[in-house]
Subunit: 135 residues, 2 copies
DNA sequence: CTGGACCTTGCCCTTCAGGGGAAGGTCAAG
DNA sequence: CTTGACCTTCCCCTGAAGGGCAAGGTCCAG
């Protein structure tokens, strides 16, 4: 049986489209389990871990935080299907995104109004004591 | 002529609805000019500075950064009306807000789609090797 | 004259997801 | 044998806008 060559951190990082720094950081944050080591102390990643990195990348694309991703991974590691939890996370994420969008939109409208005023303004009528009357 | 009593930092902060820490920070960042001191070294704020703090608060409400606010203040301090610059800042701010809103909206739509899938999912059909097929 | 409320500077801490770089060990090729 | 490309841990830095706390000085009322 052809034992797989070891997968060093740089290789795993490149395969996952990220950096060695990120991989160590994920490990520290509990997203990657304690990984095997060579005699010299080099990390040796399995194919499984590489798949895990794929998952992490997809989750990040959905805007999940590392903490949220870690929670999902923990459920899967406990042997359960994380579907229900993932659904909850996505619901919260939707809620949060809606909140942020609403907040930014409100700010945008307010700023647009101020911009209208200042665009129509006569600098000579600005009161220096207010610094700028349109803000 | 009744000389005004000194306005200490705590008083000025309270009047502006902020904290002493913020006032020292603004000074350090160049938003407040070097302020008068009493013999004991206490800062003594003038009525002008309090008006300046009002302006800073209004600008922050428009989502401007301290750096942007400082630039506007510098123009006013140079003796010019900052209208044109303020208009430019507001335009950039609008542009930036639109960009952020578009980005969040795109993410929201993508997440909504994933949520739909996971909500209709059968946990038994989840492939453990992918962690979660819906992310 | 003493207590408490205020002020001063200076220093570290916070969130997030790593990045940069030092000091030192290891591995394969020439 | 050496060189260069890897790897290890450790520690500090980023950005925004301050917050918290310590050690010490000051002001005012009782």
């Amino acid at each position: 049986m052809a034992r797989r060559l070891i997968v060093r951190i740089g290789e795993a990082a490149a395969a996952a489209g990220t950096t060695t720094k990120a991989l160590r950081f994920y490990e520290e944050r509990g997203l990657l389990p304690a990984v095997g080591r060579t005699d010299a102390g080099y990390r040796d990643y399995s194919q499984e871990t590489v798949a895990r990195l794929e998952f992490i990348r997809r989750s990040k694309n959905a805007g999940l935080s590392l903490a949220q991703i870690r929670d999902i991974l923990e459920i899967r590691d406990a042997g359960d299907a994380p579907c229900a939890h993932v659904r909850l996370q996505l619901e919260q994420q939707l809620f949060e995104l809606d909140r942020q969008i609403a907040e930014l939109t409100a700010l945008r409208n307010s700023v647009a109004k101020q911009h209208e005023f200042v665009a129509a303004a006569d600098p000579a009528r600005c009161n220096p004591e207010e610094i700028c009357s349109y803000l």
